[in-house]
């Protein structure tokens, strides 16, 4: 199974069209391997992006450098996946 340890999902708040465009620039940077769960649409519309561990720092630095606010929606994707797997196993064991 692919490992998602340290992957974070960030919720980005772009307040104007310039900031939306900045996030779209991020989207084009393939080496960051970003996975947009909710893509950049328009100012005020939340943008959710899964960021691999190796890119977390770079993405946060970029966002902070251009003054785009964000919060951490999921701190560690793998923890949620582990919980999900555990729940499925428990459910199977019960049945």
């Amino acid at each position: 199974n692919k490992d998602f340890v340290g992957h974070q999902v960030l919720r980005i708040s772009a307040v104007d069209e310039t900031q939306v465009q900045k996030v779209k620039e991020l989207e084009d940077l393939e080496h960051l391997q970003l996975d947009f769960w909710r893509g950049p649409a328009r100012p005020g519309s939340p943008i959710d992006v899964r960021v691999p561990f190796a890119s977390v720092q770079a993405v946060k630095v970029f966002l902070e450098s251009v003054g785009i606010k964000y919060e951490i929606m999921i701190k560690d994707v793998q923890l949620l996946l582990d919980e999900e797997k555990e729940q499925m196993l428990t459910s199977k064991a019960r049945s």
Binding site: N1, W37, L80, L81, Q87, R94
Partner: protein
Amino acid sequence: QARSTDTFNYATYHTLEEIYGFIDLLVAENPKFISKIQIGNTYEGRPIYVLKFSTGGNNRPAIWIDTGIHSREWVTQASAVWFAKKITEDYGQDPAFSAILDNMDIFLEIVTNPDGFAFTHSKNRMWRKTRSRIAGSSCVGVDPNRNWDAGFGKGGSSSNPCSETYHGKFANSESEVKSIVDFVQNHGNIKAFISIHSYSQLLLYPYGYKNEAAPDEKELDQLAKSAVSALASLYGTKFEYGSIIKTIYQASGSTVDWTYSQGIKYSYTFELRDTGRYGFLLPASQIIPTAKETWLALLTIMEHTLNHPY
């Protein structure tokens, strides 16, 4: 594996094999009412199944519901399993719903992207595309919600095979899409088409690829308003509604733009729970609440379709 659909656990996520096992159980329990139709095979050779709920008649007007075209949206497949059971429970019990099935058929495709779904269980929980190979690229898969013949290849889709929104080499290149296209065209009497995604709590209608209003926008908007109101009546879950392009962003080659272009007026796409706490990793404890509230919105659309023949 559950021995009957009464003992099946609807409050947990299931593998492809378990869901296909559920489908067989449900058909075996309701042989006169439900049939399993194989509409095609996936790129990797898996069968693609649609459940047909019918109380008789020949090529009756029909309602189509599909879930899981983006494989990682697990709450959608899980909700559809619940819908399937709900249909068998409510027919003959709920007069409004019975009226629908007395006059129309329902087609339900629970796992629209079986290869992708199997891959989410075995290798990569975050997979959303198909699993087709692309000549000349090391990247795998096409976004099946950008592969339809409606504004194919325009803005809001990518020509890069490594992108999550890669539209594919040509419209209908994905067997998962082509199978539905062939089925819908051969049937010729589908009156409502509802494609269910997650997340972000939206109910959307055409268009996604262009910025003009659909000819039926007024009616579609009014019906969407009623549907999200019905949905909210259960737990207060708030959905936004509107055209795809105005409510989220431009997306070309999407399912419901194509179905609308085929004359299926009531073409909608849902984005189910949540608004951004768990995203695609919605805890299993929310499956049944999600399915229950969504069912109320579906009922609203189905009833309207029954009462407004065209």
